[in-house]
């Protein structure tokens, strides 16, 4: 009896509940449906929810707890010889028992005590499944009975159902908060450890980033320096270059698609451009490193400029291309949603198409467009591969787009992926960087929200 079987049975029960609830509502209405507070199908949904939801919640709880409960019972039933092992060893014994119980390949001849334990384990799981089935069924039936009882014309079935939906919607919104909490928690402890090794002041205001600390104890004496400023300026530089490329290209593409292009062209160009967002970043990385960077270098040298072979410009431009669809597609949708009557109003005054677009359509679409652009900025800040491959890892403090720079994200990724040592400031600095980046963007977002709210108060 698998998970999907349980869920399928539950779905069937809920459907039955729906039908019963609906017909019951029709009956209680006594022929005049308008006596019902809600449309009959809401009564159906009401019953279906009562049938399905409690059983579903039980199922979720049960399946998440059953494993450890059964394990605990098997563990306590083990013969004394096994039970006296250390927790680690018992863990291993449990692996053996599981492997035996599920008929996996095992490599040693099983000990009879283990075989009994495996049998016992199987037995318990069997009971557990049976009990779950019975309890779920009982709960579903109770729900059905209760909900059906309550059906009468005055029952606000729609409101009840909508209350459940509303709770669901709120829960969905809270996922964002939970994710944030999860991220902060998974960064915080290591970051604190980092800040006990490197002072926050040095980290936040230091102008030199070079995490060249030792991997072997006998190796490098010099501590790495952990001044994150070059990384943040590098991030800013590359993201700005990317936006300088993506915003005009994306916005103008969006405008052309939604305002000028015939529907057929728009219908094809838009999804085609969206492919840009789906090309794996490795491909962009190779393109940036092997095509764009040498090109920038050659052009730069042709102009007599000193260009390093890894330049922020190359990485930024390619990143800009990658995020074009964020701006173009989202803006296109928003522009397309601006009511025609506004355009008519402008044309009626003798405005040209471009004047209409720039002065009426775009301002009307601005909140949505800003959303798309912010999304694109975010993506640019979070991108790793292109920068690693084309702009290098050297954290120079420079505002010159022809220099090699590094970004926060890149350092986080290389620090986490590279060779690391427990507790070395080098490895932990990834968490410090992550947390600070998180905080900085959070601050920026709060400011952005305030600005947007001000703007909204004025123009909503």
């Amino acid at each position: 009896m698998s998970v999907s079987f349980f869920l399928a049975v539950l779905a069937v029960l809920a459907f039955v509940g729906f039908q019963l609830g609906r017909s019951r509502a029709v009956v209680t209405a006594g022929g005049t449906l308008s006596r019902l507070h809600s449309v009959p199908s809401y009564y159906g949904l009401y019953v279906a929810l009562w049938v399905g939801l409690p059983a579903l919640i039980l199922f979720a709880l049960w399946t998440s707890l059953e494993g450890s409960i059964v394990d605990g019972m098997v563990r306590s039933s083990l013969p004394a010889a096994l039970a006296s092992l250390s927790p680690q060893e018992i863990n291993l014994v449990m692996v053996d028992i599981h492997n035996l119980a599920y008929g996996n390949i095992t490599s040693r001849v099983p000990d009879p005590a283990l075989l009994t334990a495996a049998e016992y384990y199987k037995h318990l799981r069997g009971i557990g499944h049976g009990a779950l089935a019975v309890v779920m069924l009982a709960l579903a039936c109770a729900g059905l009975y209760y909900a059906r009882q309550r059906i009468e014309p005055g029952l606000r079935a729609r409101n009840q159902v909508e209350k459940v939906v509303n709770v669901f919607l709120i829960l969905c919104s809270l996922v964002a908060i939970l994710t944030t909490v999860g991220i902060v928690l998974s960064l915080l402890f290591e970051a604190i450890r980092f800040f006990t090794k490197v002072s926050p002041a040095e980290f936040l205001f230091g102008l030199h980033w070079s995490p060249q600390t030792a991997i072997r104890a006998d190796q490098v004496a010099a501590d790495g320096s952990f001044g994150a400023v070059p990384l943040f300026t590098g991030t800013l530089l590359i993201a700005s270059i990317a936006m300088v490329v993506a915003v005009p290209l994306g916005l103008m593409s969006a405008i052309y698609m939604s305002e000028y292009a015939p529907p057929k062209v728009r219908g094809t160009v838009k999804p085609v451009l969206e492919i840009l967002a789906g090309i794996p970043t490795v491909v962009y990385g190779f393109f940036a490193a092997l095509t764009m960077a040498p090109f920038v270098r050659d052009v730069g040298q042709g102009l007599g400029l000193a260009v390093s072979s890894e330049s922020a410009l190359a990485a930024g431009v390619v990143m800009g291309v990658m995020i074009i669809p964020f701006v173009s597609s989202l803006s296109d949708d928003i522009i397309n949603a601006v009511p025609q009557s506004l355009r008519d109003g402008s044309y009626g005054l003798g405005a040209t198409k471009s004047e209409t677009i720039r002065q009426v359509v775009l301002p009307a679409a601005l909140p949505g467009i800003v959303g798309g652009i912010l999304l694109a900025v975010s993506r640019a800040i979070g991108e790793t591969m292109i920068v690693v491959m084309a702009a290098g890892l050297a954290a120079n403090l420079s505002a010159n787009p022809l220099d090699a720079v590094s970004t926060v994200t890149v350092q986080i990724a290389t620090l986490l992926v590279g060779d690391q040592e427990f507790d070395s400031a080098k490895t932990l600095s990834a968490f410090g960087l992550g947390l600070v980046l998180f905080t900085v963007t959070l601050g920026l977002n709060i400011i952005a929200l305030r600005v947007v709210q001000k703007y909204r108060e004025k123009y909503d």
Binding site: P339, Q340, S341, L342, R343, D344, G345, S346, Y347, G348, L349, G350, A351, T352, E355, Q359, V360, P363, A364, K458, Y459, D460
Partner: protein
Amino acid sequence: MTAQTQIGTSAVAGADARSAAGILAGAANKMDAKQVKVYYGAKQALKGIDLAIPERQVTALIGPSGCGKSTFLRCLNRMNDTIGIARIEGLITLDGQDIYDREIDPVQLRARVGMVFQKPNPFPKSIYDNVSYGPRIHGLASRREEMDEIVARSLQRAGLWNEVKDRLKEPGTGLSGGQQQRLCIARAIAVSPEVILMDEPCSALDPIATAHVEELIDELRENYTIVIVTHNMQQAARVSQRTAFFHLGDMVEVGDTEEIFTNPRDERTQGYITGRYG
């Protein structure tokens, strides 16, 4: 008929009896429509309209809902170009020039032939920006004060100034229905077009505001040519010199307003007018 299409201002002589009868001495045809047919997809909305619009007069278009008044109005400044499925046939001239000619620039045309729409459609900008928008794109003011002056005067003429003079920076969309309508009128007259097309400009207005707009129309008439769609017979009678009666996509009758209201030739016109008068 062909002569008429060549030189608009001297077209009076060539105008057919029906039209000529209604034109006051000295007035010439500012615009002229010949056999204008409009289709929305397969549906024909106008079935061949012939109508001359005399200069510096107010022409009223009346007729039952859905008969094609707005459609005709939108033909006069090529606003129908923006409706994908609309197709237009026939000839419309402004000062004797075919406005659907390739040579003609719809932008210039619409600057010369302004429009107030049936549903008020203020831009989601401030009240000030709503009105200054047109003058700005046409470069009618070179300095800030000039623009302030244009905005203030337009709002005054539309009868909205007193209500909004303290909230010019607030969004135009936060106004009441009637206020929005007057805002749209102010916006249209701010660019001083030669011809102003008004699609039921007073439908959302109270009597006082209506009277105000009617005065405005009367005043504008001295310099501008005005075409107004209205459902209000009294209004048509009060403000217009000429009236055209539309019915099911046809123009049934056109003539001197007094004539039309007192002595309609077509019985459909009679029915329509008396349907209310009676």
